[in-house]
């Protein structure tokens, strides 16, 4: 493969042309978020984590989505109240495919929607009383619930409710953690602040107020998976590898996770971070407070999986290191067969990525493993540190777009004509209608897992079925 992409395409000119459509003020602001990656660059040369411009159709969500939808929602043995009007919880009900094992409605509540369904009187007189009652009713109807979180929607912070006081009182009364999360959607510029707030609440309302479980026996091999939401079973396909090399995964944050796992996390020897963006905060806190080191890893695609397994094993004794080699060797024939089958069908295909979290860089080498090229990538809600981590993965000439607008993405894709667009549900049908193969890279397009060796085979199959389906050839009528 060549060392650069988009050769022969005037990508810089394309960016300038697309920007022309904006009014002056917005053009100047958007220009800072778009760039073409230069050789040897230390970062991507774009501004990030800045307010979206009004009226441009940003693809971003909000702090509530980052807290309820991403961090807290998957904790299966707690009930998460969407506190405020009915909509937020309704739209985020069961949408993210955070797989879990449990008896829903009895000891797990991941695919249910709980809301205080604010009415006008709650806005006028405040919702604290209603919240008190709601928590009491939940505890009555769901006696096996291990904890409750209050996920604030926009009005809560605007009407001056004291959800912390309610949480303290109810926690005392029920003898279970009740945690207030100030993740109102207007806070911050995207989902990202919601992740941060949710992390801070775990720090202040779980770590500070609860203890690791009595009788929990530590071993020298205890690790955690932090920042894996178990979409389509990702965390399971990762966990199995860590267990196979001889480690003990004492907690999953937060896909298929439980309150006890959160509570026991300070017992870990190492915190392993997959989605750095959404959970680096808690990892840094644990490093500071409990002296637990943390390490980023990447379980997308065999190259990165092997590298990560070796890096993880290097933190442990020779036995683990040997095991890592054995595990890599064990899966290699399956990986080789997958690559032998799919690479010839995918080699040289160009991909444009636009998603959030870690994926705009983390999935890149999985595509490379299949001989595919990334010609554009960008993040919904990245910070500078994400863009600093990105040049490691992508090549000179890659188009970089931060908080891309629907308009920009459409124009970029139209001009570059990649062979695959890897983005979200809101983008999917736009590009399919343009005749372009598409995969949703938030929900794995209802497939998955994509993590781990088992996931890589599925990833390869899915990219092939998207790109090589005959439907793209029948778009043009013969008349």
């Amino acid at each position: 493969m060549s060392l650069s992409v988009n050769e022969g395409v005037d990508v810089k000119g394309l960016v300038d042309k697309v920007l022309e459509a904006y009014p002056d003020k917005s053009r100047k602001r958007r220009a800072k978020h778009l760039n073409v990656l230069e050789a040897e660059a230390k970062d991507c040369g774009v501004k990030s984590n800045i307010k979206s411009i009004p009226g441009v159709m940003t693809i971003r969500g909000c702090a509530y989505a980052g807290s309820k939808g991403v961090v807290w929602g998957p904790i299966k043995d707690m009930i998460h109240i969407s506190h405020g009007p009915v909509g937020c919880g309704y739209y985020s009900w069961s949408g993210r495919r955070n797989y879990y094992v449990g008896d829903t409605g009895v000891d797990s509540w991941g695919t249910m929607h709980f809301t205080t369904d604010f009415q006008e009187k709650d806005i006028v007189f405040g919702g604290d009383k209603k919240l008190h009652q709601a928590i009491a009713e939940i505890n009555d109807l769901f006696p096996l619930v291990n904890g409750i979180s209050i996920q604030s929607e926009c009005p809560i912070g605007l009407i001056g409710d004291d959800i912390e006081a309610v949480a303290r009182a109810k926690a005392e009364e029920l003898g279970k953690p009740v945690v207030p999360v100030r993740c109102e959607g207007f806070r911050g510029v995207s989902q990202s602040l919601g992740h941060h707030i949710a992390n801070d609440v775990i720090r202040d309302w779980i770590f500070e107020k609860t203890e690791p479980k009595e009788g929990f026996v530590s071993t020298p091999y205890d690790v955690t998976i932090i920042g894996d939401y178990n979409i389509g079973g990702d965390a399971w396909a990762s966990r199995i590898l860590l267990e196979e090399i001889g480690l003990r995964v004492i907690a999953q944050w937060s896909g298929d996770g439980t309150l006890a796992e959160l509570e026991n996390t300070p017992k870990a020897k190492v915190n392993l971070i997959h989605c750095y963006r959404s959970m680096n905060y808690i990892a840094r806190h644990m490093e500071e407070k409990f002296g637990i080191p943390w390490m980023e890893y990447n379980f997308f695609g065999p190259s990165q999986i092997a590298e990560s397994l070796r890096k993880i094993a290097a933190l442990f004794d020779d036995k683990i290191k040997e095991n890592a080699e054995k595990v890599i060797a064990k899966y290699q024939p399956m990986v080789d067969a997958v690559i032998a089958k799919y690479k010839p069908r995918l080699e040289g295909k160009k991909v444009m990525i636009y998603v959030g979290g870690l994926r705009p860089r983390h999935v890149v080498d999985a595509y490379h493993d299949l001989g595919m090229e990334i010609v554009g990538t960008g993040y919904e809600f990245a910070h500078n540190d994400d863009y600093q981590r990105t040049p490691h993965y992508v090549k000179e000439g890659t188009l970089i777009y931060d908080d891309v607008t629907a308009f920009e993405l459409e124009k970029f894709v139209e001009a570059i004509r990649p062979d695959l667009v890897a983005s979200g549900i809101k983008e999917k049908y736009v590009f399919q209608k343009m005749g372009l193969p598409f995969r949703q890279m938030h929900s794995w397009d209802y497939s998955g897992p994509y993590h781990g060796y088992d996931g890589f085979a599925i990833f390869a199959r899915d990219m092939d079925l998207a790109i090589n389906n005959p439907v793209w050839g029948i778009m043009k009528a013969p008349f």
Partner: protein, 519 residues
């Protein structure tokens, strides 16, 4: 912990089968017993059984503060849906930006179509100072980038709580030249803490009409022969609106559908992405004030709009999601009455064919008990149709349903011997319905995709017939209204009944004597 590799390149296994392999089953067990600190299997089984009891139902129905699995969304998504039915219209949602991502996602997951709408992306500073600047910049950006013919403004609850004044803001933005002075920017205040998506729909229809028709009462507005029709919030809008247009065509009625999403939510895949397609032409919307009458297909989606239309001197007629023979008869007779034209012979033939189909299949429907949930109008229309088929609607539930609605449903039930077991539950949710299904069971559930959890828990088969349908494809492309639509609904119900029969009679040598070839 060594195990063979289950995954293979020859036959790639994904989540459906991968996690059923022994190594994953063992992984689940280890995680559960060593790390989850959950409750014992016995305790879980005990509580699970308790949730299915009469005692639990009483507790469940005593709830006042927590709502669990409701059948309603919030106002803005309804307003957005209504706006998207007008030619070249871009909804502009004033408030926090995450809301818009949610509405677009929800509608996209149902229609499997792109859904375009923008946000004014208000954040903390706007919460303090108001969102005027967001409106000014936002309208300018939306107008420049997306070249709409109309921008319909609505609000999230954030903008409502801080009290942003849309009318003033839009004027202000026009004065700042965000959009030309004469560019249409209708608006609707759509607080999420009042009503639900059906109220938002009403508010936006009224907002658009107010923009084009003016606010003042004018009972003497000159009238022509056209008839307006407002479909309401409808997951089957693509199929239904086209069917309504076909029916109007057969009558020879010039009909204006006010908010017609059928083309916008069903654009072709031919290499070109159409951000806007079809919709009620803006000129037709303007002229619609001169129609002699307006028909609402969903009463609860249009109370304020109909009142407003009445004040322009039009006759109005309202239906409750008319499904089936009698309801379609009523609709057609109303069209005949308003237009002065006879019901076309072709429709009479279609009626006969529908009745023929019902007669052919009635044995499988008679006496079958149903739970029905969804929006208030859907519940009314569906219950009526079920009774027409000889089936019995038993639990009729709508979180958006009011006391008035409950009485209306009761009246419908009282009118038929097949309604004697029926009861309406307004303001209740799907967790209430779960209790009802366990304590007073039915044969089938009619609802939307969220009902699949009820189906899983109760093993009562679910028939998806209302928004949102995320996990089945393309049904929205087929009508449910008109005689043709009723036939589609009938077939959907029958298919599920027959599939259920086969699934319950397929054990070899044990139950398969009833595995009949001919049914």
């Amino acid at each position: 912990m060594s195990h063979p590799v289950s995954q293979s390149a020859d036959k790639v296994i994904d989540h459906f089968t991968l996690f059923r392999q022994p190594e994953y089953k063992e992984l689940f067990e280890r995680k559960k017993t060593e790390f989850e600190y959950g409750h014992s299997d016995e305790e879980v089984a005990r509580v699970s059984a308790w949730t299915k009891t009469e005692e639990y139902k009483e507790k469940n129905f005593a709830r006042e503060a927590i709502v669990i699995n409701p059948t309603k969304a919030c106002q803005p998504i309804g307003a957005m849906f209504a706006a998207q039915g007008f030619e070249g219209t871009l909804p502009f949602v004033h408030g926090s930006q995450g809301c818009v991502a949610y509405y677009r996602t929800h509608l996209t997951r149902h229609f499997k179509e792109p859904n375009s709408a923008v946000s004014s992306s208000m954040t903390e500073d706007a919460a303090v100072f108001g969102g005027l600047n967001n409106m000014i910049d936002g309208l300018a950006n939306a107008y420049s980038l997306y070249k709409p013919k109309m921008i319909a403004v609505l609000t999230t609850c954030m903008a409502e709580v801080i009290g942003d004044d849309l009318s003033g803001f839009i004027n202000n933005a026009k004065n700042k030249e965000s959009v030309p002075q004469d560019f249409p920017v209708p608006f609707a205040h759509t607080p999420a803490f009042v009503g639900s998506h059906i109220v938002g729909y009403d508010n936006m229809i009224k907002g658009v009409l107010t923009y084009f028709w003016g606010t003042s009462e004018n009972f003497d507005t000159p009238k022509n022969e056209t008839i307006n029709l407002i479909p309401g919030f409808d997951g089957y809008a693509v199929g239904n609106n086209r069917e309504l247009k076909r029916i109007a065509g057969l009558f020879g009625i010039e009909m204006t559908i006010l908010s017609d999403v059928s083309d916008n939510f069903d654009t072709p895949a031919d290499g070109e992405y159409r951000m806007y397609d079809g919709g009620t032409p803006l000129e037709a919307t303007k002229q619609a004030v001169h129609a002699k009458a307006t028909i609402s297909m969903q009463e609860y989606c249009t109370p304020q709009s109909l009142q407003f239309i009445k004040e322009k001197g039009q006759q109005v007629a309202k239906f409750n999601y008319p499904l089936g023979v009698a309801a379609t008869d009523e609709l057609l007779l109303k069209l005949a009455e308003l237009s002065g034209k006879a019901v076309p012979a072709e429709l009479k033939l279609e009626r006969g064919r529908l009745v023929d189909a019902i007669a052919d299949s009635h044995t499988h429907l008679h006496g079958k008990r149903f739970a029905v949930y969804g929006d208030p109008d859907f519940c009314l229309g569906m219950s009526k149709f079920l009774m027409e088929l000889g089936a019995e609607p038993v639990h009729i539930l709508s979180t958006s349903g009011s006391k008035k609605w409950e009485k209306q449903v009761q009246k419908v039930l009282d009118a038929s011997p097949f309604g004697k077991s029926g009861k309406a539950y307004g303001g209740k949710d799907l967790w209430h319905l779960r209790s009802l299904l366990f304590t007073d069971t039915v044969d089938y559930i009619i609802g939307n995709s969220y009902g699949k959890y009820l189906e899983r828990d109760t093993k009562i088969p679910l028939i998806r017939l209302t928004y949102p349908i995320f996990d089945r494809h393309h049904h929205h492309r087929y009508p449910t209204w008109g005689y043709q639509g009723a036939l589609n609904v009938l077939v959907r119900i029958l298919d599920r009944i027959f599939e259920d029969m086969d699934a319950n009679t397929n054990i070899v040598g044990e139950t398969d004597y009833s595995f009949d070839l001919v049914r």
